[in-house]
């Protein structure tokens, strides 16, 4: 069973973090069709998280089509994502490694690399809205 964690410093709302973690687990093959998600109560108690928010995340996942709730039983993964097969990860990973090497040659240390990545990623996401 998947275990959730919350990063209160990440700037991402808790509900989205749960949704992302489920999608992430599906992408990486850690969650498969038929697996049960932890109960709302267990997530709420484990993370000290508002159960309404957990429920909202689960509903979002249901809306996304990846899980389905069976009343009285639990929430289960319905299908693995149609998304890109794991094969496409390989080349992307290689590109990333190349970029990391480039950044290190330019003199950036690990923390600068991570900062640059996060900032570009976040503002890149933000530019969709303005």
């Amino acid at each position: 069973m998947i275990e959730f964690h919350l990063d209160s410093r990440s700037g991402v709302s808790p509900y989205l973090q749960v949704v992302h973690q489920v999608h992430q687990a599906l992408r990486l093959g850690l969650l498969r069709e038929g697996d049960q998600l932890p109960t709302v109560k267990d997530v709420a108690a484990g993370l000290a998280m508002n159960p309404n928010t957990v429920l909202k995340a689960y509903r979002q996942l249901e809306h996304d089509g990846v899980v389905s709730a069976r009343p009285g039983v639990g929430t289960f993964v319905t299908k693995t994502p149609d998304g890109p097969p794991f094969a496409v990860f390989g080349p992307l990973r290689r590109d990333l490694l190349r970029w990391f090497a480039k950044a290190r040659r330019a003199g950036l240390d690990d923390e600068s690399i991570e900062a640059l990545f996060r900032d570009t990623f976040r503002s890149g996401a933000g530019e969709d809205v303005a």
Binding site: S8, G11, S13, G126
Partner: protein, 298 residues
């Protein structure tokens, strides 16, 4: 859904000082509401008014549809944990449970005993010998085992160490998950709030500055970063809460319902803690309470 706590121009005066003034709220049911504000802002006053420990000086308050002072049956539906979790230091844990059983008609003895056991508390130990975290958990048990529809908690985790704080909130969230209950939880610590609360009430200097769904508040407040600009030049449907400028750059926190179309701005989400802090800073800078005014910081 009707409101669990509903106030109209509620006020309470202590001598010449108003602890709470012109407070109008409607807290919807089924939420975990955070009551935040600096120390002395009026959070405890509001909770004490809700629980019938104080009569209003002006305005009205209704809890679960009833006036709090009027009826012990209302008190049976509301669980309250006061600041610092007061307990009788000479009475044992078991004695406190007996107190709850004798003084509350709806007492769920099994729930109380299961919780005490789950918490690992020794029933024979006097409450005076418990740690702060244990006393808070005991007080929460007393409030919970009444099977209330509404839980009011006054800074329940303020004096607890981080582990005790986390365990308390875990306990609380577990209870909320299992039972149909609304919670109003006051705190001056903002860090835990975003994961726990879905409704926010911000009180500064005895007045309500902000109240609403967390989701909606976060959706309508944005941080704008862009080239230096006078905040007054923004459109009228964008209310500036806070502005700070460097030589070349302006960072604004605005509240708006409309989308932001100006491409010059980079728009960021803001988290709950930063939002609350911005309002608190704004209040500190404003001479009169209640009007959003931009503040310039260097």
């Amino acid at each position: 859904m009707s409101a669990v706590v509903s106030t109209q121009a509620l006020g309470r005066r202590y001598g010449r000082r108003w602890g709470l003034s012109e407070c109008s709220l409607d807290v919807p049911a089924g939420r975990v509401a955070a009551l935040v504000g600096p120390n002395g802002a009026g959070k405890t006053t509001l909770l004490h008014l809700a629980v019938g420990l104080l009569p209003p000086t002006s305005g009205t308050i209704e809890v679960l549809g009833e006036r709090p002072l009027a009826d012990p049956r209302v008190m049976a539906r509301v669980g309250f944990v006061a600041q610092d979790a007061p307990t009788y230091s000479g009475l044992s844990v078991a004695d406190h449970l007996r107190l709850g059983a004798r003084l509350n008609p709806g007492w769920d003895r099994q729930l109380a005993e299961d919780r005490i056991e789950q918490l690992g508390l020794d029933p024979t130990q006097p409450a005076g010998k418990l740690s702060g975290g244990q006393r808070a958990q005991l007080a929460l048990t007393l409030a919970i085992a009444k099977r209330p529809e509404l839980l009011l908690l006054d800074e329940p985790v303020a004096r607890l160490d981080p582990l005790a704080r986390r365990e308390f909130l875990q306990s609380l969230m577990e209870f909320v998950a299992e039972h149909d209950v609304s919670v109003v939880l006051s705190s001056h610590l903002l860090g835990d709030l975003e994961r726990v609360c879905d409704y926010l009430i911000l009180i500064i200097k005895s007045r309500v500055r902000l109240a609403g769904d967390v989701e909606e508040l976060l959706a309508t407040h944005h941080r704008l970063i862009g080239p230096r600009r006078d905040p007054a030049s923004l459109s009228s449907d964008q209310h500036v809460i806070e502005a700070s400028h460097t030589e070349r750059q302006s960072t604004l926190l605005i509240r708006t319902d409309a989308p932001i179309r100006d491409p010059a701005w980079a728009v960021e989400q803001i988290n709950l803690e930063d939002l609350v802090l911005a309002y608190m800073r704004q209040s500190a800078d404003t001479a009169s309470a209640g009007r959003p005014v931009s503040s310039v910081r260097r």
